[in-house]
Amino acid sequence: MAPDAPLLAVEDLKVHFAVEGRRYRAVDGVSFAVDRGRTLGVVGESGCGKSVTSLAIMRLVSQPPGIYAGGRIVFGGTDLLALPEGRMRALRGGRIGMIFQEPMTSLNPVYTCGDQIVESLRVHSGLSRRAARARAVELLDLVRLPSPAKRADDYPHQLSGGQRQRVMIALALANSPDLLIADEPTTALDVTIQAQILELMKDLQERTGTAILLITHDLGVVAETCDEIVVMYAGTIVERAPTQALFADPQHPYTIGLMAAVPRIDVEAERLATIEGSVPPPWAELRGCRFAGRCPLADERCRREPPPLRPLATGHDVACWYAPIERRAA
């Protein structure tokens, strides 16, 4: 593998679901890359395919009904979609860690937090029970759980949501993964705890050098943590840009709409802006731009031909016939 190749490259990934004879195109031609030690944010509203993308990278989309309909997921030089299950299993929790959205339900309720970390350590590194236990306590300390040796003997139901998410992070980081996939890691938490968890992830990334793929619908979260952002809509990428550039100069009407829908403390508004309509159902056969039905700019061409993702500036790609929008308006 070339030294400058990205750690993870998703190339034209298509994940479909066959349910009752219909084909749901949950992810339909998505490409992005994550470099070592960097953070990529994937944003979009519910149902846009972000979670399916993250599960697809772990190859956890259940088949059936899921179908990997095309594309490649290249991680550290190997295509994960072509990997035999046994080797894929070694990667899960080993070189790729994952944090889930619901800290309340994503820990096994019948084992102590310590035991779950020990389990993961022993599956991947063959540590002795004692060494694994010591490492588990170390990890709980790393995620700043108070009195980690005691907490290791606690069952998940004895911890608060924030504490459980810390345990999840410790679990995901147990085997020093190269890539950490965080699927809505803060969505289920209080705002104050959210900030702590994000800060913790940032801090751990600096220490361990792991790359992070952060899936979220929260623009505030990506703004604080990501180097680069991918905006997804209805299973496709509509815009991709470095964080600064995206917030300074959003180009896709959907991105602009999303940003306008974020409440701002410095702007007085009677009511929040919304994007009219909702995401087209994934079984809809759309010929043109998938956002056309909700887009204020859409015309005949938008409904007929899907706009390709094309570069506007360095690292800034947009899939819209009208981009660059600001310049056109001027």
């Binding site: 899960r92 929790g93 339900t105 096994n108 084992y111 069952y155 139901h157 608060s160 679990l171 702590q196």
Partner: protein, 296 residues
């Protein structure tokens, strides 16, 4: 980390491993049921040691009433049956056989059944096949199955045990499956996969461990039913052969004397009733205490 967060966990830590049996005994009904069960099982196990008479030997006192009757004697505390055999002794030995039938049938049938159910839920591809098999089994009434087996193997307690075990499988498979399906939908199953666990580890440590308490409660509730059906089969003359003592059979023999010596039928029936009731109450209470998800 906020102070409040730390405080709540410490409060919750305190009652943690406070011995579960102590909490079990705090429930009055459960304690009573458990005591009854321990007494009955203990007495049945120790039957050869504590029984006052030989269960097969008749005395000259036929149909003697129990001691609380004005004509009763302390020589036969529970009286004697139609052939002059000591009722207490017969009850002790009969409970043994009844419990043996129930325990073996429930354990074998319950294990096989819930395993089938869990496998069906875990490997969704197998689900339709396993469930159709279960449907077929479900359409055989236990009593009919018992009759058929007796016809094939001949009378005795084994055909009854086999029939009861087979009759237990489909219910346990269905319950096991429905519990397992809801567990499989939990996010921690996916999280377990994401940690890189093999199917075997996931099945054992995630699925079975999270289902087991709910399945155990169901199996323990089945225990009461199986004892009842087993007694019914013996009552119909399918199970243990005379002169072996078995509670259901004793009740059947006693019904001929129901009008003038009711104790011969009533006492074994009461013992069956107490076993079934105690098993159900104790099973319920055990679940409440052992299920970590019900712990607060």
């Amino acid at each position: 980390m906020s102070v409040a967060e730390i405080d709540t966990t410490q409060e919750e830590v305190a009652p943690k491993r406070r011995a579960w049996w102590r909490r079990l005994l705090a429930d009055r009904a459960a304690a009573l049921a458990l005591a009854a069960l321990v007494l009955i099982v203990g007495a049945a196990l120790l039957a050869p040691l504590i029984a006052p008479y030989d269960p097969f030997r008749s005395s000259r006192l036929v149909m003697a009433p129990p001691v609380w009757d004005e004509r009763g004697t302390w020589a036969h505390v529970l009286g004697t049956d139609g052939q002059g055999r000591d009722m207490l002794t017969r009850i002790l030995y009969g409970t043994r056989i009844t419990l043996l039938i129930g325990v073996v049938a429930v354990v074998v049938g319950g294990l096989l059944g819930s395993l089938l159910g869990l496998v069906a839920a875990f490997y969704r591809r197998l689900d339709p096949f396993v469930m159709r098999l279960v449907d077929v089994m479900l359409s055989f009434p236990a009593i009919l199955l018992g009759l058929a087996l007796v016809a094939v193997i001949g009378p005795g307690i084994w055909p009854v045990i086999i029939a009861l075990a087979i009759a237990t499988i489909p219910d346990c498979a269905r319950i096991g499956r429905s519990i397992a399906v809801s567990v499989m939908e939990q996010e921690y199953i996916e999280a377990g996969r994401a940690v890189g666990l093999s199917n075997a580890a996931l099945f054992r440590r995630y699925l079975v461990r999270n289902c087991i308490s709910s399945i155990m409660i169901f199996i323990s509730l089945r225990f009461g039913q199986v004892i009842l059906i087993g007694a019914a089969l013996s009552f119909l003359g399918l199970g243990a052969r005379p002169p072996t003592a078995e509670l259901g059979m004793m009740a059947a023999q006693g019904r001929d004397f129901l009008l003038f010596a009711p104790h011969i039928a009533v006492i074994p029936s009461v013992v069956i009733f107490v076993i079934v009731l105690a098993a159900n109450v104790a099973g319920d209470a055990l679940r409440d205490v052992l299920d970590p998800r019900l712990r607060t």
